[in-house]
């Protein structure tokens, strides 16, 4: 693999990695959130806990922050 090609491949992958972190809701999420949860788009960890799934405590806190529940 030539040096130029290596650089192009690495830069492209780096851009994709940055996009995956900054626009996770577009790059990774399997679908859009419901209308009431739109403000949580891009903040996956508002409800999810790494390697554990949706934490009900987190999800409730996030929903409370949207003032959907008391």
């Amino acid at each position: 693999m030539s040096r130029t090609l290596k650089i192009i491949v690495l830069v492209s992958l780096l851009v994709i990695a940055i996009l995956a972190f900054t626009y996770a809701h577009v790059m990774i999420a399997p679908g859009r959130l419901i209308k009431e949860h739109q403000s949580l788009n891009g903040d996956c960890f508002a409800c999810h806990t790494s390697f554990r799934g949706i934490d009900s405590k987190n999800a409730l806190l996030a929903t409370k922050s949207l003032k959907l529940v008391a």
């Binding site: 290596k6 491949v9 577009v26 990774i28 399997p30 999810h48 790494s50 799934g53 949706i54």
Partner: protein, 177 residues
């Protein structure tokens, strides 16, 4: 082979939908990925990282394993457009399959070319010059394949990184507990 791959994907997707087994498609990515990974044994064998196994048989298994694995991954992807990262991975895999089929065609052509040349030399009676010529065509076939590998391997690396990104994101958000 490419047409057959598209047909197998569409047929597989159709059958799963007809029998209300769409959930199976969600998990087909796992055996598909394992098949692709397993077929990489050929690549390792060719580089002498492993000593056992007939390279010719392993090449056949590599071709079949990557084709079937890709079909499974494509059914897993389904015809749904949601997140971009897995689609980039699926697209890179598709390019990888096309590149692999081009390599298969080049290898077949190179083999045929060398075989024809050798047959001509044998028919004419071998001499030192002709043997050199024969070696030259062998070398050309090897060079053609080496140049093809310079394209095939970077495409595979891109596919592997994108697929790993997709797998990592699934592991990160999966409900394990």
């Amino acid at each position: 082979m490419l047409g057959l791959l598209a047909f197998a994907t569409l047929a597989g997707d159709y059958v799963l939908h007809q029998f209300n087994l769409v959930w199976v498609g969600r998990y087909l990515g796992i055996p598909g990925t394992l098949l692709i990974l397993g077929s990489l044994y050929y690549s390792a064998r060719k580089r002498n990282w492993f000593k056992s196994g007939n390279p010719q048989t392993l090449l056949k298994l590599h071709e079949f394993g990557t084709w079937l694995g890709s079909a499974m991954v494509l059914i897993h992807a389904g015809i749904h457009f949601n997140a971009i990262l897995p689609w980039l991975a699926a697209f890179a895999m598709g390019i990888n399959v096309v590149s692999g089929l081009v390599g298969k065609m080049l290898l077949k052509q190179s083999k045929q070319f060398v075989k024809t040349e050798r047959e001509n030399f044998v028919a004419q009676g071998l001499s030192v010059v002709e043997v050199e010529r024969s070696i030259y065509w062998d070398a050309l076939a090897v060079k053609t394949m080496a140049q093809w590998r310079k394209v095939h391997i970077p495409i595979f690396i891109v596919f592997a990184v994108l697929a790993l990104g997709h797998i990592f994101s699934i592991f990160l958000f999966w409900k394990w507990a």
